[in-house]
């Protein structure tokens, strides 16, 4: 199967196929803003985001639960961001808060892997868009199965040890509000995923370690991290 193609099989509900587009939201978890402290108000940033700041995890980054993720040569540690992923069910443009959740097909766990970096001023593509840096899974859980997406606990385990606990209750823009603000300037399409934002401090892992991200009601996404092939 070609690189990243397995992601397409993760969905048993309409539209049955992920598009391969994964958008992430920067600084949408209160802890990620807190981690930057006063730096947010200094150059080059000069204030927190006014509108959602999105980034893209391109199709070469997609992986599924169980797939080994390669730590690039010359890199000691990778950072593991864990996020709730909103899976779009029908074309979503200019949504309203009242009906935004109706446009979701379901939810999935997004493991947002990156090479640790300190600046968010320029897009961090060489740090975030490496092959395998966006495992998704374990399956897309139907929208109706999750009563309140703004009250989910997310846990990251490294080699079985609990390293981070966060909640979607701490989002700067809660799920519906985020969908409203994003779809004001771009349409999300069926099968697209919008990751709502990762918490900080995010754990770091090395080759040889096993990461498990757990979200109540969605399941566990597990990936071993391995040394880069020679």
């Amino acid at each position: 199967m070609p690189l990243g193609a397995r992601y397409a099989t993760l969905m048993d509900v309409p539209p049955y196929r992920l598009s391969g587009m994964v958008y992430g939201t920067l600084l949408n978890h209160q802890t990620s803003l807190q981690a930057l402290g006063d730096d947010i108000y200094k150059p080059p940033y000069q204030g927190p985001p006014r509108a959602p700041v999105l980034y893209i995890k391109p199709r070469n980054t997609l992986a599924t639960s169980g797939e080994p993720i390669a730590v690039p040569p010359g890199v000691n540690e990778l950072e593991i961001g864990a996020s709730l992923g909103l899976v779009i069910g029908r074309p979503a443009c200019r949504l309203s808060e009242e009906s935004a959740l109706d446009y979701l097909a379901g939810y999935v766990i997004v493991s947002d892997v990156s090479v640790p970096h300190t600046s968010y001023y320029r897009p961090s593509i060489p740090f975030t868009a490496r092959d395998g840096f966006c495992p998704l899974g374990p399956r897309v859980v139907p929208q109706a199965a999750i009563a309140n997406p703004d009250g989910l606990t997310i846990r990251i385990y490294v080699d079985g040890e609990l390293r981070q606990t966060a909640s979607t209750a701490q989002l700067v823009r809660p799920v519906a509000k985020l969908l409203v603000d994003v779809t004001d300037f771009m349409t999300l399409s069926p099968g697209d995923i919008l990751a709502v934002g990762v918490a900080q401090p995010a754990p770091r892992v090395r080759a040889g370690q096993q990461v498990c991200i757990e979200i109540d009601g969605i399941g566990r996404l597990e990936n071993p991290f391995v040394g880069a092939p020679a």
Partner: protein, 256 residues
């Protein structure tokens, strides 16, 4: 070969540009029908994969935006929802102060690329298109700049009018680019002035990510970007590749 995708009479067709018997330009569909340019709906010439865009890749444009050259190429990504075909319309939200076009050479990957050396890079190219990658600078934030609200708006990345086969472009490093705003030449440059040229871009990108068939690299724009207003017609041209037309429309058309 130049291959377009057009919609006409209830179907989507592959088409090649042709001069009509009356001198106008049009297309020849694969089924033999010939139609004038304005008789078909022009779709983006391919289903795009990952769109990789370059910022500040021409020295003069970088200077124009008062920014210094960074060590690594400034790369950002875009989604497929922003792509629009030839002769389409792009929305300028009411109240914004600076929305500008960017004429760019678009490189379409034809063969998977990972760890490709500069000398081999051109073998991984399927062809080229013209791109007009609009930006609305009012929405710039200093987070992952340029953020998606500036550069990834619906219908704000015009691509086409067709895919020019790589065999037709002898040297992607020597192509003149021009933009006309309501018929007046406003932007002019040459791909030879790229800071990181096409083979070097493929080498750089494939050093950390796998490029796949259908991925598109938007290679940056030269100096000469000015504001566009509702009603303006913007035409981008690249030597040997044709002309890509777009019209700016207002909120009213979208019921806003």
């Amino acid at each position: 070969m130049k291959l377009a995708r057009v919609a006409c009479a209830g179907a989507i067709h592959a088409a090649q540009p042709r001069q009509l018997s009356d001198g106008r330009w049009g297309v020849l569909l694969t089924d033999g029908r010939t139609l004038a340019e304005e008789e078909v709906v022009w779709l983006p010439p391919l289903e795009v994969g990952t769109i990789i865009a370059l910022g500040l890749n021409y020295a003069e444009h970088a200077k124009e935006l008062a920014l210094s050259k960074s060590e690594d190429p400034l790369v950002f990504l875009k989604g497929p929802g922003t792509v629009l075909g030839h002769r389409g319309v792009t929305r300028r939200p009411a109240g914004v102060k600076l929305m500008h076009y960017e004429c760019e050479l678009a490189v379409v990957i034809g063969r998977s690329a990972r760890g490709v050396r500069r000398a081999d890079a051109l073998q991984h190219i399927a062809g080229y298109c013209i791109a007009n990658d609009y930006a609305i600078r009012d929405y710039l934030e200093n987070w992952y700049r340029p953020n998606l609200r500036v550069k990834n708006r619906d219908g704000a990345t015009v691509l086409g009018p067709w895919l020019v086969d790589a065999t037709e472009i002898e040297d992607p490093g020597n192509l003149g680019l021009r933009t006309y705003l309501n018929g007046k030449l406003v932007q002019q440059g040459n791909t030879r002035d790229m800071i990181t040229d096409v083979p070097a871009l493929i080498e750089y990108l494939s050093s950390f990510m796998t490029l796949t068939v259908g991925d598109v690299i938007l290679t940056g724009t030269p100096e000469g970007v000015v504001n566009v207003d509702v009603g303006d017609e913007v035409v981008c041209e690249i030597d040997g590749m044709g002309r890509l037309q777009n019209t700016i429309v207002g909120d009213q058309l979208f019921g806003r």
